[in-house]
Amino acid sequence: MELKKLLALLAIASLGLTAGCGQKSEDEELMAMANSASKATAVLGTASVAGTVTLTGKAPGTAMFSVDADPVCKAQHTGLVKDETVIADAKGDLKNVIVYVKEGAGNYPAPATSVELVQKGCMYSPHVFGIQVGQPLEIENSDPTLHNVHCLAVTNDSFNVGQPNQGMKTEKKFTKAEMPVKFKCDVHGWMHCFVGVFTNPFYSVTGDNGSFKISGLPAGSYTLVAWQEKYGESAPQKVDIKDGEAKSVNFTFAATN
Amino acid sequence: MLDKLKKMIDEKFAQAPSPEAVKKAIAEGQIWKSIFRHGYPDTPRNRVMAVLSNLFLHLHPVKARHSGVKMSYTWCMGGLSFFLFLNLTVTGILLMFYYRPTAEYAYYDIVALREHVPLGIMREIHRWGAHAMVIAVWLHMFRVFMTGSYKPPREFNWVIGVVLLVITLLLSFTGYLLPWDQLAMWAITVGTNMARATPFMGYEGPGASMIQIGGVHLVHGGSDIHFALLGGHFVSEATLIRFYVLHCVVVPIVAATLMAIHFWRVRKDGGISGPL
């Protein structure tokens, strides 16, 4: 055993010698490194996954609440305001569900375009959305009243910014993947929204009809998960996908009361 | 010009002596002859000379009894004892380079010897060699007894042998303390506790309480042989330095002297024993 090691070491030693002799110039080395480094970043593919998210069982009735505490908010609404926690249509199609690739996707560079979060009528819009690590998030106060944007991130740095002026914008970036991150406004106790932070662009938030589509996937095997603010994370679903393929995956949540 | 040089070299090579001649020139040159005063020992004369003209070999007689050189007779245990002694001397000196006999350092110097001192097994060779030497000496004595080799004229050499046995045990015993770990300290504590019970000289020995003048005891815990041996009431740093000096200086010198006498007497008493 020990003798074997010895021989191996001698072999390595001779290799080291030859490597030492054939030194490349610095520029060449640099170029080689640059090439291999650029290869490391993942490339978008051509496959896609689409589907719908539905709620089974009796959907909770739409809750209503008052925003009268602040006259500015009151002025922008007539009467009570709809609670956005669970929004499902008659068929049970769920809105505001994030579907994303939990396992299997690599890291992708962040797009330079920013995601916008608007506070309008003392409500967050969108209520649920996704963003990539490093992608700018622009938070705007469109109301003529004080809002504070209180980010309750755990993995990322949390922050709490006051926006006393109408039209005031604040830009933030997330540095790590985290799902979900809650935002709330401490001035208006009802205001909150959720964001998912991902290292890749493979996420989608369901619209009014509960449908979502994730495209640009390279061929491979992925684990998909849906997340809803009240019902949490769904059971994961595995998807094997080839280039150019379009697969359909549906998620369901069971209503709890 | 280069061609000339080449030619010259070729000529010189052609004249060069054969390897045998070189060998001969060296073996019969002044330097060689001044070191080795005899030829290769394959003739009786050279064999005699090989032994006689060599300091180390001249311990031996030129000729010995045929029966005496047999391994089955001598078991070579005396020789091995001596080899082990030399071995222990060499490794012991190497150990002394690294070892400081103080309470702060003794233990951790031994740890260093185990952990990272180059070649790493000096202490092992020393320790196992010491154990082996004890056994070799016993077996040597056993052999000498079983062949009746202590009988006249070798009586006194047997006595020296017995003393050398004691010296061997003492060397081993004093060395046992030096690693300064629990094993060492307590083995020495157990071993030296008996000294307290030495008749008249140990304060827990019979008769010690009788040695008194005017009601003052002369042999007490602070003056008895146990105290003298340890340099204190218990095994302590004073004991360490005492045992170190005994182990590295005193006992080896005595051992070497007695060994010289022992070997010399073997020759003078007629070499390896044999039936008359």
Binding site: - | W138, R143, E155, P179, D181, M185, W186, P206, P275
Partner: protein, 362 residues
Amino acid sequence: MHYILDAIDFVLQPWSYFLFSVIAFWAMIKYRETWTEPAFAVKLLWGAIGAIVFSMVYSDHFREIASLPDNVPIFLMVFSVGFFTWLSFRQGVLNDRRIAQGQPPIEKETSDKKVYVWPDLVYVEFIATIVGGIVLLVWSLCLHAPLEQAATPAWTPNPSKAPWYFLGLQEMLVYYDPWLAGVVYPTLILVGLMAIPYIDKNPKGAGYYTFNERKLAIIPFLFGFFILWVTLIFLGTFMRGPGWNFFGPYENWDPHKVVVLNNVNLSEYIWVRILGIGLPANFLIREMWGFLAVGAYLVALPPLLTKKIPLCQELLEKLGVARYGVLMFLFLSMASLPIKMVLRWLINLKYVIAIPEIFFNI
């Protein structure tokens, strides 16, 4: 398997261990013609190796103790002593056969011829040195020298043992006080060893292996060497556990083991148990029985033996009074250890003479 181990643990006690070793010794002397045959000896060797392998495999405890680096010399000692005992007896037996047939011993065949020490002796010595060096190197490479926690008197390891070559003496401490076991006996052993050439006046057996011609010398010497030294080291290593209590070789060393220790002094036996009166205040009177016994043993016994045993008479005549006296003193001193052992086991005798006032206990 564990029944066998447990049975061995049960059977082995200090007294039975001693008994077995004495029986083995007797057998060794008695059946020397048989066991020195190489074929038989190889069987014995395999038996010994088998016993050790068996113990190592089936007893975790034995393996743990046996594999302590400092106990490896014990095996080296046991096997080398065994081998060389065989070698010497083998040659002795062969010589004895020749002598019985009127031939000289084997050594005599060649002892008159002389050979040059170069190369016959020097070469052999050189090879022995190299082989010794190999053994030492391999041993050192495979086994680390033991090193425990740095020395501290704050906690005592249990058991605390002397270096292995002194375990015979430590074992003696069970039966005799330190001044005897640790001082007087070692001195006597050395004096006795030194005295051997001056007492042994037997002119035969010099320079060759023999048993028959030197029975009287060899038997006591080997008894001392084997029974009172080597086997006691073995016992001290493998069967003395915490509190210096006796444990079977496969028995776990439980530091909380409790054993009966009801030892009684001779004076108490006689004054209290036999005579039924209390102990006298004066310790000289109190211990007079012991003094009488020791005196009788050392002083009266040697002359008495000459009267009773022809062999002793013969010895006295051969050696003269002085030599005979010294011989008997040394011999009786040696015998006192097994005698005390037996007395301890038979009648729980603690001390023959017990004067703790001046630390004089025998």
